[in-house]
């Protein structure tokens, strides 16, 4: 930790150099005369905050940085130093308790982090030493080490691929845990690598670590004894990232270039900053108000004291002579100490116990999330997990939801749903009936069906037109393979066949064909084998693959059948296929495609073309030539592709579903109904993401899409920047200026008259918006962009790098009104946005535990988000808001009489209450009922909350902790405090309150006030409690009983350790006075009257009065039943 800091401080030289030089294998190179092993950071991952040695000072420092703790420390010190009315123990003990508990909690959490770190750091890896792989801990890897990684292992650091066990010098990796893409990516070894790594003598020059996952620039110098050094350029295709997993490759060797905290994954992993909830901010604001009240009280009292003392004979009446010490003190020092004494006397207005109670409430309250059986997922046998309890109430305040797509909205599990051949629709088959179509032919929903030839052609096209590889998997590998989504077919143990492809759709299509009876057997030396309905194996020679790219949005293969026919099969998006086929075929299919698309399926059209010998020859020549071109290769290829893929005939269309998570659409609808804006941030392709958005009902048919992507930016043929400028202004006009001002509380489904906008942006466009070229107006674009986003019902951001996701979250988080954001995701690529958002939710998905570990809350499924927010969040918010207000309230009316008493005791800091009462008030007498309330209260039943998402809007924007409610509570407290004090004061105009004529003293006065106080604040809470479980009954009545018993006990014994038995029998005597009883009853009733009155007169308001009338506690319904 320290070392890193130092590096950052003194490591300027390292920063200044743009590149780093790595000696492969850490061996000196002939080119450099002196070999100085360069210093890089080791491969340790450090996420813990403390070590054993710095824990105490650092933790204490951090705790006292909290304004409240610091304040209590100051009060404590004042009490120790200055002669104050109350003993230092009264504030020292609670403070010590709070600090200790917090330190233990934080220490424990850090210990868990240490454990997790060491799990990663001690993970065994094999490093090549003297040609032999040696086992090492992961943290021991140095930059330059050659590391061996076997299949299904994750890379321990960023590696340059040197050697692969595959023949073609490639390896497959999946970066699911980095960017969420679960497909297999091909990475290449450094070209012309020698086989013998031991004798390899090379250096790598590469850029300094940077977080962009897709960028890497480097050069490798290979030295051979008798040759000139060879230089190879290195790109991202040579770099294997830490966190990615090796797939379908037995073994690779790579040289470590970035290690530890410098890997791209670690750089994308932002430091876990302490998240503070909005409630805590409110508390701090209120605290400031109360601090002002406190200081002004102390100032008023100090001033009055000296004004009063300036009168004749009042400074030092003969009966109360000053001590020598007092006489010797300078006036200003005296005034200052008096001020401090008043501060101490009134400091209970900001009770340390509130922090304890809030912490306890959060800690204990979070158990209800982990205990909730609705969050239990039988599949993974786990329930919800709470990593931090500080944010419970924030769950009730969410305004923006940022969700990952892959694995969160969708199951990342493609399934073939239906197809349409020659205009006839073939519905989906359920997986149970997978083999029905072999002999009968496909069942059609329509009575007629397409001709058999067409069907066969269509299925052949599905089987041939792809880049899927077949992987024979042993049964034991089946389960593990599932991690990556596609792969095996568990229902068919007979054909344990895994498919590997760069896109899960292709696998789904191949599997779909297999279900219809056409099985793809594999590709062997340019020959594709398929098994047809007759169980014959057909062989096709694969001539060319016309790769998929997002601009063309289609791919083709050219094959030659056994019979010598040359066929081109093409599949692609409808928009790219329809113009290239004969128009008369289009109409029949278009209808089906559109219908499928509305269902949220991903549709592809399939076309074919028979190539004559001449045509093929021309195409072949064109393709070969283009592939060899050194310049503009892409463009040339594109031209040939376009040339070849024309005049095809349409065979049919397919519909594939990326299965949504259970209840994804309902969840999204509920969230939107609750007034939250849902943004989808994904690293995935735009088409895929868009269809998911449709499926989740985030986009609807009526939604007008505003697209700000590379495609639209480049479509105009102008510079991107200009296009960006135009589009932004155009969209802004549409979505912001022309839109009627959004009214709060209007559900989108009710406002269907207004056009709905959906906004789509991709990573590249976002980068342009965020970091435009210097000549453009950066902040202007940003604000335009933000305004557009905020006016759209749903926003889709695709092709996002992890940090870009965080950037978006950050932008929204810091926008006007600082809305509360929530991020939900399941992969390591979501970690940065999970950390950035106010609330981070991890889905316990398939892509590892990274997101879960960094999240604040983890749930097994997306659907659980609904209950988490609508029910738990809502309740937690109400509970804690009430808790906070109540705490301030009860302490204001606790201290106000004490303040008022100063006017009647010559401002001498005489406490009104006994020290025991001062200390116990917040700790014992009034703490348990509010704690029980804040854990158990359900003003609205959970079922009702779940059914009426709109209820969530009632508490939006911190509704219960704004200045209005705060003022109400404060006024109430002042009112009650005045009543307590003056009621008793008028009673004491004649202190002879017993029938034997004996008089009461000041401690009786205080005890009567205190009794009224304890009963009033407790009964006030009882009035607010709408959900009386036995626990509430127990603590509320128990607290009152405890107060009485304690008072008897405290006043019934001569306590040897007390200097003065102030309260001795005061309580007994009070109870023996009828007047005291009567005044207590009177004052309690009077104090509670306004609250009861307001409660009854408060009419249920708002648009959903009718719905919640049943549950609104203060309704007139019952009156009507009554009469």
């Amino acid at each position: 930790m320290l070392r890193r800091r130092l590096n950052r401080l003194f490591g300027g030289d390292e920063k200044r150099v743009d590149s780093r030089t790595i000696y492969v294998g850490n061996r000196p190179c002939p080119a450099t005369e002196t070999f100085i092993p360069p210093k890089f950071c080791d491969n340790r991952i450090v996420s813990s905050k403390y070590t054993i040695w710095n824990f105490l000072p650092k933790n204490l420092f951090e705790q006292f940085r909290r304004i409240a703790n610091f304040y209590f420390l100051i009060i404590f010190l004042v009490q120790v130093i200055v002669d104050t009315p109350t003993s230092p123990v009264t504030s020292g003990l609670p403070l010590f308790f709070v600090i200790t508990v917090t330190a233990i909690k934080q220490g424990y959490e850090d210990w868990l982090r240490h454990k997790a770190d060491s799990e990663v750091n001690k993970y065994p890896v094999r490093v090549l030493e003297d040609g032999q792989p040696a086992r090492k801990d992961s943290e021991k890897i140095k930059v330059g080490d050659i590391v061996e990684v076997v299949e299904d292992e994750t890379f321990p650091c960023d590696l340059i691929l040197l050697q692969s066990s595959r023949d073609d010098d490639t390896c497959f990796v999946t970066t699911a845990s980095l960017d969420g893409e679960s497909n297999h990516k091909t990475h290449y070894t450094v070209p012309d690598m020698e086989k013998d790594l031991q004798s390899l003598s090379a250096t790598i020059e590469c850029e300094q670590p940077q977080p962009d996952l897709y960028k890497f620039v480097g050069r490798m110098h290979i030295y051979k004894p008798e040759h000139d050094p060879a230089v190879r350029s290195l790109g991202p295709e040579n770099l294997l990232l830490k966190g990615a997993t090796l797939k379908n490759t037995k073994k690779i060797y790579g040289v470590a270039v970035y290690t530890g905290m410098e890997t791209k994954m670690a750089l994308n992993y932002q430091g876990k900053s302490q998240k503070r909830s909005a409630v805590e901010k409110s508390i701090n604001a209120f605290l400031l108000v109360y601090l002002c009240i406190l200081i002004s009280k102390a100032v008023v009292c100090t001033t009055l004291k000296y004004v009063w003392q300036s009168q004749d004979g009042q400074d030092e009446p003969w009966y109360n002579q000053k001590t020598e010490k007092e006489k010797g003190t300078i006036l200003y020092v005296k005034m200052f100490t008096d001020f401090l004494s008043f501060m101490v006397l009134f400091n209970f207005i900001i009770p340390v116990s509130m922090y304890v109670t809030v912490e306890m409430q959060k800690f204990l309250g979070s158990f209800f999330i982990t205990w909730d059986r609705d969050f239990f997922d039988p599949e993974i046998e786990e329930g919800a997990l709470v990593n931090t309890s500080d944010l419970n109430e924030e769950l009730g305040q969410v305004e923006y939801v940022f969700t990952d797509k892959t694995g969160t909205l969708t199951q990342n599990n493609m399934e073939f749903i239906e197809c349409c051949i020659d205009g006839f629709q073939y519905t989906a088959f359920s997986s149970e009936l997978d083999s029905f179509c072999v002999t009968d032919g496909p069942v059609s929903t329509f009575q007629e069906k397409a001709g058999r030839e067409k069907e066969e052609l269509f299925l052949r096209a599905l089987c041939l037109c792809h880049t899927v590889q077949v992987k024979e998997a042993g049964p034991d590998e089946l389960g593990g393979d599932q991690v990556d989504g596609p792969a095996s077919e568990p229902l068919r143990p007979a054909e344990q066949r895994g498919f590997i492809a760069s896109s899960p759709d292709e696998v789904a299509l191949v599997k779909g064909a297999m279900r219809y009876g056409f099985t793809f057997l594999g590709l062997e030396s340019k020959t594709m084998k398929i098994k047809n309905w007759q169980n014959d194996v057909e062989e096709y020679e694969l001539l060319h693959v016309l790769n998929f790219d997002p601009v063309r949005r289609r791919m083709s293969v050219i094959v030659r059948s056994k019979s010598g026919d040359t066929l081109l099969f093409c599949k692609g998006a409808d928009s790219s296929i329809f113009p290239r086929v004969r128009p008369e075929e289009v109409e029949r299919i278009r209808m089906h495609v559109q219908r499928s698309a509305t269902e949220g399926y991903r549709t592809l059209c399939v076309a074919y073309k028979r190539l004559s010998v001449d045509e093929y020859a021309a195409a072949d020549a064109g393709l070969r030539e283009a592939r060899l071109a050194l310049q503009d290769r892409e463009e040339k290829l594109m031209a040939v592709y376009n040339q070849v893929e024309t005049a095809m005939s349409l065979i049919g269309a397919t519909a594939v579903e990326d299965r949504l998570q259970e209840e994804a659409a309902q969840t999204m609808e509920a969230l939107q109904g609750a007034g939250m804006k849902v943004w989808v941030l994904t690293g995935d392709k735009m088409e895929t993401a868009k269809s998911t958005c449709y499926a989740c009902r985030l986009f609807r048919r009526s939604t007008e899409l505003l697209e700000l992507t590379v495609r639209t930016l480049e479509s105009g043929g102008r510079r991107r920047e200009e296009m960006l400028h135009d589009l932004l202004f155009d969209f802004h006009r549409k979505a912001v200026q022309d839109a009627p001002p959004a009214r709060a509380g209007v559900n989108r489904s009710w406002s269907s008259a207004n056009p709905e906008y959906g906004f789509i942006v991709d990573g590249a466009a976002l980068a342009l918006v965020m970091n435009p070229s210097p000549d453009t107006n950066c902040s202007r674009y940003r604000s335009l962009f933000l305004q557009i986003c905020q006016n759209c019902t749903a926003v889709l951001c695709c092709r996002m790098a992890p940090l870009q996701k965080a950037q978006i979250v950050k932008m929204v988080k810091n926008s006007k009104g600082s809305p509360i954001t929530l991020s939900i995701g399941d992969g390591a690529n979501d970690v940065s946005m999970i950390l950035e958002a106010h609330v981070g939710i991890g889905v316990k998905g398939k892509e590892g535990r990274q997101a879960v570990r960094n999240s604040d809350y983890a749930i097994p499924k997306l659907k659980h988000l609904r209950k988490l927010l609508l029910a738990h969040g809502h309740l937690y918010y109400i509970r804690i808001a009430h808790l906070v207000q109540y705490f301030f309230y009860k302490n204001l009316c606790f201290i106000l009489p004490q303040f008022l008493y100063q006017f009647f005791c010559g401002c001498s800091q005489q406490p009104l209450y006994d020290a025991a009462y001062l200390t116990m008030y917040n700790i014992c007498f009034t703490s348990m009922p509010i704690l029980a309330y804040s854990l158990l209260e359900q003003q609205i039943a959970i079922e009702v909350l779940l059914d009426n998402a709109t209820l969530y809007r009632d508490i939006a924007k911190n509704a219960m902790l704004r200045w209005g409610p705060f003022l109400y509570w404060t006024v109430l407290a002042v009112f009650q405090g005045l009543i307590f004090f003056f009621g008793v004061k008028y009673l004491f105009s004649n202190p002879a309150l017993q029938d034997n004529g004996q008089v009461f003293g000041n401690w009786s006065y205080g005890t009567i006030v205190f009794t009224v106080l304890v009963f009033t604040v407790t009964l006030k809470l009882a009035l607010d409690t709408r959900h009386w479980t036995w626990i509430n009954h127990f603590v509320i009545w128990g607290s009152l009983a405890f107060y009485v018993v304690f008072s008897f006990f405290w006043g019934g014994i001569i306590w040897p350790f007390l200097k003065q038995q102030r309260l001795y029998f005061v309580f007994f005597n009070m109870l023996s006075s009828v007047s005291a009883w009567l005044v207590i009853i009177l004052l309690i009733v009077l104090s509670l009257l306004p609250d009861i009155l307001l409660g009854v007169l408060r009419k249920p308001r708002g648009p959903h009065t009718q719905q919640i009338a049943v549950v609104t506690p203060l309704s007139y319904k019952h009156l009507r039943e009554h009469y």
């Binding site: 003969w318 309890s389 007047s1075 009507r1120």
Partner: protein, 343 residues
């Protein structure tokens, strides 16, 4: 804070963990509140009437004897030179002052509730612990030791400033003064007298010896063991006037019980007639602008005369009734509109 259940364990399905504890959900509806308010109102008015009537029946008589005005008989005693000054106040009762009559003295602008004043005593000393006779606690400063460094018993400001005026009440019967006996017992809290305070054990059979080595408070004219030489049970720390004084008053205007008139001829009260109050005036209050008074009062079950409680009960009671009526009216109106909406 890994609060999660263990991997294989499904969360317990108990009412508590699932937040489904059976609960009473009271609704504070008008149907409860209106009758409730009415009942409370009626009860309060009843209590208020009882209190008010009781308080009205209590008679009290205040006699200010500070002597600020030159015409006051006690004016002569206000000068600093006056020592052992006696003055007498005359008053006339036209009707029987019903007994038992309680005799209070009252002070104003006297802050017994000063913080430094309030802590200036030694509880251990006052409970008869002789160790503290020689070592009074620091809280007693500046009345911890006298100028010769002798420990003061009882130490501290409260004891030092004990009320020192004494009173004698005479009824003038046929020109002759007949003393009205003032019973100085039973005026302090029972627990103060019996438990909280106690005298030191006798030393060599002498009470005074127990206090040897200590000096009396500076302002006192006689040591604590001579407070009531006639009655050992009322002497020393157990002197009831001392105990009454030691219980600090809550407010700067206060009265303290001095004695009861419950004996002999006056057990039924003070008959109508002329009375003379003879005051041994020694307690200075003018310097801080205070006043002194004597209050004669009888008490009831609610204590001394205090109109506040009765009036407050009557006001709050009527308020409740009024609010109940207002609510009823609002409700009636509201019900109409509500029905319109519903049907």
């Amino acid at each position: 804070m890994k609060a999660g259940p263990s991997r294989t364990n499904r969360p317990d399905n108990t009412a508590f963990t699932q937040q489904r504890l059976p609960a009473w959900q009271p609704i504070l509806s008008a149907g409860i509140v209106i009758p409730g308010f009415t009942l409370i109102g009626l009860a309060f008015i009843g209590v208020g009437v009882a209190l008010f009537v009781t308080s009205q029946k209590i008679t009290d008589l205040e006699i200010d004897y500070t002597g600020v005005a030159a015409t006051s008989p006690c004016f002569k005693c206000t000068s600093f030179a006056a020592e052992n000054c006696m003055c007498q106040m005359e008053f006339t009762l036209t009707t029987l002052f019903e007994g038992p009559v309680f005799f209070y003295y009252g002070l104003t602008s006297y802050y017994q509730n000063f913080r430094t004043y309030g802590v200036s005593k030694d509880g251990y000393q006052l409970s008869g612990d002789t160790y503290y006779f020689n070592n009074p606690q620091d809280s007693c400063a500046p009345y911890q030791y006298d100028s010769n460094n002798n420990p003061i018993v009882p130490c501290g400001s409260i004891a030092n400033s004990m009320f020192s005026d004494t009173f004698q009440l005479y009824q003038v019967v046929n020109g002759m003064k007949k003393q009205v006996p003032l019973d100085g017992k039973g005026i302090a809290w029972w627990t103060d007298y019996n438990i909280k305070y106690s005298n030191p054990a006798l030393v060599n059979g002498s009470f005074a010896n127990a206090f040897s080595g200590t000096v009396k408070p500076v302002n006192w004219s006689k040591p604590v063991y001579e407070l009531d030489p006639t009655d050992q049970a009322n002497n020393g720390f157990l002197n009831q006037n001392f105990l009454v004084w030691m219980r600090q008053a809550a407010l700067p205007k206060f009265q303290k019980l001095y004695g009861r008139i419950a004996e002999g001829d006056y057990a039924q009260g003070l008959p109508a007639g002329n009375y003379t109050l003879l005051i041994n005036y020694s307690y200075p209050v003018i310097s801080f602008g205070g006043t002194k008074k004597v209050v004669l009062s009888n008490v009831s079950w609610m204590g001394g005369k205090n109109q506040f409680l009765g009036i407050a009960y009557l006001v709050i009671g009527s308020l409740c009734i009024v609010m109940a009526m207002v609510m009823l009216i609002i409700y009636a109106k509201y019900k109409f509109t509500d029905d319109d909406e519903d049907m």
